[in-house]
Symmetry: C2
Subunit: 149 residues, 2 copies
């Protein structure tokens, strides 16, 4: 896909991550875009804010997009490589593409998704990596809780 | 694990599935049990009831269990073979065991979980299968929506 468009969409996810950080939460954001470029839903990790372990950024964006007949042609944009939980979401619902801010602080199921036909766009964004690096350094226990380690 | 105990735990998930059916929802239920047999959380598919596509039975039970430092030794009990989304949840959070009511009307990521060290207990329960068979027959569009097909 067009890299400028991917970066523009990533900005939506980054804004969610920054809002989460300001709320005292885990700074991971995501957004689901339709095939025509419509923003269908956006969200952020809500473990701390809602005491809800089931809302990772990607599942929050998926939830915000509401019920849909199909996810064909949609793109999940996320600031961080999707964990197995969120990778499973992408595979089960047939989301066509995942745009990833960075995969250096954590690497989830992106290769598995690629092997199953999902287009992966890795932006290797230094801002996303810096945000997570600082968060993990300052909150290791909370981070480990969020990824089940 | 002890089959009688597995069947006793499955009854909790079946009760959730039946409640969901009575609410007009998709009849899939789940429960998360601790290593010591404590019921940590229970839930049911809430797509219809809450208009929320992110709450499959397993994710609803996981959510109801709240924030936890570890899932080591826990068992996810579900009336139906877990889809990729719910299988990803189990793998990411290190849930140790999955008790499955039936895997004939739908088969998700159970073999993948077994290959990654998760204990799978398949009960092949005719009641669970009958519930889903009737539901899928009467609501094919809703069922396909729930599994992204």
């Amino acid at each position: 896909m067009d890299q400028a468009l991917a970066r523009a969409w990533l900005a939506t996810a980054v804004a969610e991550a920054r809002t989460g950080l300001a709320e005292g939460g885990i700074p991971i954001g995501a957004a689901l875009y339709g095939a025509d470029g419509t923003l269908l839903g956006r969200g952020r990790n809500r473990r701390v804010q809602d005491g809800d372990p089931s809302l990772h950024a990607e599942t929050a964006a998926f939830r915000a997009a509401g019920r849909r007949r199909t996810y064909r042609g949609t793109t999940m944009v996320t600031t961080l490589s999707p964990c197995w939980y969120c990778s499973g979401l992408v595979r089960q619902f047939g989301i066509s593409r995942v745009v990833i801010g960075e995969a250096v602080t954590f690497r989830g199921g992106q290769d598995w998704l690629a092997a199953h036909g999902v287009e992966i766009v890795l932006l290797d964004d230094p801002g996303c990596a810096g945000l997570m690096r600082a968060f993990i350094r300052d909150n290791p226990a909370l981070w480990n809780e969020d990824i089940g380690e």
